[in-house]
Amino acid sequence: MMNILVCIKQVPDMESRFKVNAAGNWYEDTDLAWRMNEYDEYAVEQAVQLKEQVGAAELTVLCIGPERVKETMKKALAMGADKGMHILDPDSHQRDPMTIAAVIADYVRQHNFDLIFTGMQSQDRGSAQVGVLVAEMLGIPSLTTLVEFSYADGTISAKRELEGGSRALVSCNTPALVTCQLGLNKPRYPTLPNIMKAKKKELLTAPLADFSPPELQQQTVAVFLPEKRGGGLILEGDPAELAEQLLKIIKDKTTVLA
């Protein structure tokens, strides 16, 4: 039986209009639409594909956060994960990558996973650290930024994405951890029957304190909106009038229609 873990995070829709919270240390989390971190969708899809490939496998989805993250976990269950482990932490937004990684590593030590999938980073925090830290804490190899993944007989063969569009061909043996880049696969949309089935799947919750979180190494002292650079012109209004204005701007400011 292959034991597979996928770690996911719930993040706000990035198209949201963000406001700084009252404490001034993160975004205001009311009035936001929540979804699965996009990188993690690729991680869940790859984990489900692996489970389908090997047959005898169990896939657990892990998520740290407040009560609301269960909604996002249900999507992973509807995509094909077998069960969920929710580590309840209303203050997860104030944890640093080392703390999050230590909590995940503590959970993993109790369960002996053969393969762990994570996104290569989160869309809101973007540290790109947690996956690698978990693997290093566990003393297992990690392959990062994958855009291709295959598995056979205890060996992972993969391609890492590099700047400029080339790829590095890498491999390692399990147990291992991989971090997933956008475009790794085509994440499936949960079907209605699978959404219904997911409601009956096991979804356990345990408090963060159960996983011996270490002390913070770093702290957010302020969050602010970036200064608007330059004096870009903003046009709003009726599309037909906008088209007219844009044509004039293209004629006046560029030579492409000359």
Partner: protein, 305 residues
């Protein structure tokens, strides 16, 4: 302050990010040394001590080996700050070092104050100011955030490092980006489609506007990942870098990786329903509108003169 810079080398070249590390060090005003798994044939333009391991022996990609060598140098240099580029090399190696050293790692630094580091959040819609509590700090720098000034030509003082053993990760070479396709770098006008096009059929209206302007159509990453456009049309860090006379970004939010590929465009028009989209940071004009309405109207106005 003592700073150790971790240079980046790939496929026989010392990468341009090394100059950004050096710029960062000079802004910090510290004493800097550099670590590089590279080659004597292509040295960074740096005047300090360069701890150099030969990539022919160590392997260009060998996280365990690079980690071991780098930890040896850190033990010798005793820096307070270890600096990586925020790149496929840096974000892979930095956490491996940070854990061993019990150092806080702050990723994708774009700016700094006297005692804090500033990083982007939420697709650059927010900035986060971070204070570190550990004695040693590891940072990765966002590409382009510390653009080098004209640096006087310099030669480093080389301290050679012995080779490392192979680790748990095998690296068997590189696969080049798919050859052929479109050379966007020659296009005078580029009309680029982002996630906002919604479905692949809408790419035809982007193409029609590009044709009306005698240009080429391009795409941002999500459109290429979904197989709606071929990779040769992707603009950004992992695609092509372009500098047309006119760049029209349609439904593109403006992730840093995309901006890096198009910010040298002479004139940028963005069409987006999200007035706060980061593409607005580099756009000369932001038309707040649904591209599916505006793009066909604009094409029609251009073709009718």
């Amino acid at each position: 302050m003592k700073i150790l810079l971790v240079g980046e080398y790939r496929e026989g070249k010392t990468l341009g990010t090394c100059a950004e590390l050096i710029e960062f060090a000079s802004r910090m005003g510290g004493e800097a040394a550099m670590f590089l798994v590279g080659s004597k044939n292509t040295l960074p333009n740096f005047s300090g001590n360069l701890y150099l391991a030969d990539s022919a022996g160590v392997g260009e990609f060998n996280p365990d080996g690079h980690k071991k060598l780098l930890l040896e140098v850190i033990a010798k240099e005793q820096p307070q700050l270890v600096v990586f580029p925020h790149s496929s090399y840096g974000w892979d190696l930095a956490p491996r070092i940070a854990l061993v050293l019990k150092a806080a790692q702050v990723s994708e630094v774009v700016d700094l104050t006297e005692d804090t580091l500033i990083v982007p959040s939420c697709n650059s819609k927010l900035r986060r100011q971070v204070k570190v509590k550990t004695a040693l700090t590891v940072v990765t720098l966002q590409a382009g955030a510390f653009t080098p000034q004209d640096q006087a030509s310099a030669t480093p003082h080389i301290i050679e490092l012995a080779g490392a053993e192979p680790g748990t990760i095998n690296f068997s070479g590189y696969e080049a980006a798919a050859a052929g396709g479109v050379d966007l770098s020659k296009a005078k006008v580029i009309v680029s489609a982002g996630r906002g096009i919604g479905k692949p059929e809408n790419l035809s209206m982007i193409d029609a506007l590009a044709k009306a302007l005698n240009g080429e159509y391009a795409a941002s990453r999500p459109v290429v990942d979904a197989d709606w456009a071929e990779h040769s049309r992707q603009v950004g860090t992992t695609g092509q870098t372009v500098a047309p006379k006119l760049y029209i970004a349609c439904g593109i939010s403006g992730a840093i990786q995309h901006l890096a590929g198009m910010k040298k465009s002479e004139f940028v028009i963005a069409i987006n329903t999200d007035k706060d989209a980061p593409i607005g940071e580099v756009a000369d004009v932001l038309a707040v509108a649904d591209l599916k309405q505006l793009v066909p109207l604009l094409t029609e106005r251009i073709t009718s003169g």
